[in-house]
Symmetry: none
Subunit: 300 residues, 2 copies
DNA sequence: CGGGGAGCGTATCGTATGTTACGTATTTTG
DNA sequence: CAAAATACGTAACATACGATACGCTCCCCG
């Protein structure tokens, strides 16, 4: 998905900068900049189209050609000639580019304003991206949803199972380590797939299964989730913004941002959500949890 | 144009709040909130559509029904039923609403940060504190220091061992899972204390030991760190701002902020530092790591 | 266990949308 | 000033898109 649209974007860049002689040092040419460059060499009608677009950027470009042309006060073919002049093959391609640009912009709202140029090194963009990811993740996460999940997790009539993928299993373990202290019947599923599967026999409608699964989604987890779902287990899924296929079976889905300037995906956002939930569950279970903790101390 | 879409928007509002009995004091019901309200009363397929939309808000909703349905993993009619349930007459009307919302949002950049007015609950102080912790942690952490540690970790002439405490061991495991891929001889020490101790025999001056230890500091870890130190092992310590006693033996100390409004301490800052280091080490080992990864893929 | 209902997907249909050909208007140039 | 070239809109066209009818499957309730 990402790589594809990126490829398309780069392809367009080459086509565009090629004839302006800018060379290869261009970083990220937005469509708005593209227009600013060429607006002078445009005929009157297309210039009107360009001005209308930048005035209502980018929303008007997402509507139909008819809407666009009407608002600009020109005809439909003029709009099409306009986008053709920008280097796009057809109108849908132009719209896709706008959407991609919008998506990229919405993903990192802060880093664009606070580009600190003094830190030349590797750490800065990484931490900035992580902060953005956290903000974005929580922006899409309503308190209502968090509270519902916490409530479900605090309900200790049923059992609670946690499991994760190749890189996310430590998150499951982290969460399990905390929750096992404040409520009974918390189990972190480890080891081989056949081991988990044998635990399915104990799972039922009252039980909760927490799954961590980000790209690339593991087949073993999907299979397991499906079987658990068939047994009526309530699934809470921690995944990335592209949603693991397990979302199909999940009762609750938490989508965390994972993109960082690194070869690896970041699980930091999911980690913080996990910590938040741990806190919320603990709070909901007061004073039960407090008593339980004291009792535990006594056992040492 | 504007007045027309406004009219449509208001009309939809009335239709929507009418049956929820909220009355007229609703200010501006965004589609995201609309979804949050109704997602519970939705069948599985439509819920999946809703989750996909929220996770990729709002761009996926601006694309075609086919695109939307494909990304959500459901069929086109399900998408249409989903938007119908939200109160829209047809798909274009739904898209118009999204576009209007987007336009309003882009016009007043201030409203962007305060898009969630419902933040009265428990989540907000938690995430705020975590963000502060991250900023503070990295403020006291120089790039120079990070690079030195990364360099040490990238030096695969010696072995690398990772270990953590009761709650932080998952962090050690997370780091080990990544580093073991890009370099040889990475070992996560698990199990009982006697197990680690037996590994001491293999440790020497060229080796690195990464320890995660936050309050309350575990005696077993301290004992282990001391013995490793005596053998000349280079210790990298992840701890909290009050510094574990292990700092005495450590070559490098990373102090992360852990205070959050919760009964538990937060390891989020240490987690992010760990991820940053993973990225830095990976970058330093290019193209070695890339080749190693490819080779690994081939073994699947 | 059998009947009813809700949920979802497949396949088909109608239409709104982008596209293109062509003619007219307007500007440019010799 | 004439003639050509460019620009622009009208109208017809084709396609892709959203809408819908239908049937299968699963689940709940009697």
């Amino acid at each position: 998905m990402i790589s594809y649209s990126l490829f398309r974007f780069v392809k367009r860049l080459f086509r565009n900068v090629g004839d302006t002689g800018l060379g290869t040092q261009t970083t990220t040419t937005s469509i708005a900049e593209l227009i600013a460059d060429r607006i002078d060499s445009m005929p009157a009608g297309e210039r009107r189209a360009a001005q209308t677009l930048v005035a209502n950027y980018p929303v008007i470009g997402l509507k139909t050609v008819a809407d666009f042309s009407q608002q600009a006060g020109v005809s439909s073919p003029t709009i099409l000639r306009f986008v053709a002049r920008l280097g796009f093959q057809n109108y849908p391609e132009f719209q896709s580019a706008l959407q991609d640009e919008l998506a990229a912009q919405l993903q990192s709202p802060a880093s664009r304003t606070t580009i600190s140029p003094n830190r030349s090194d590797a750490a800065s963009p990484m931490i900035e991206a992580t902060l953005d990811n956290l903000r974005e993740t929580f922006r899409h996460l309503s308190d209502k949803q968090l509270n519902e999940i916490a409530e479900k997790m605090a309900d200790h009539r049923g059992h609670m199972f946690l499991i994760g993928g190749r890189f996310t299993d430590p998150l499951a373990r982290y969460m399990a380590a905390h929750l096992a202290i404040i409520r009974p019947n918390v189990f972190h599923l480890v080891g081989q797939e056949s081991m988990w599967r044998d635990r399915l026999i104990d799972m039922g409608k009252r039980d909760v299964l927490v799954i961590f699964d980000i790209r690339r989604y593991q087949d073993s987890l999907i299979r397991f989730a499906e079987k658990a779902h068939q047994r009526g287990v309530q699934i809470v899924l921690f995944t990335d913004q592209w949603l693991s296929p397990i979302a199909r079976f999940a009762r609750h889905v938490i989508a965390g941002r994972t993109a960082v300037p690194s070869p690896w995906d970041s699980s930091a956002a999911l980690f913080v959500v996990a910590e938040t939930l741990i806190g919320a569950v603990t709070r909901q279970m007061e004073p039960d949890s407090a008593r339980r903790i004291r009792e535990m101390e006594g056992l040492r």
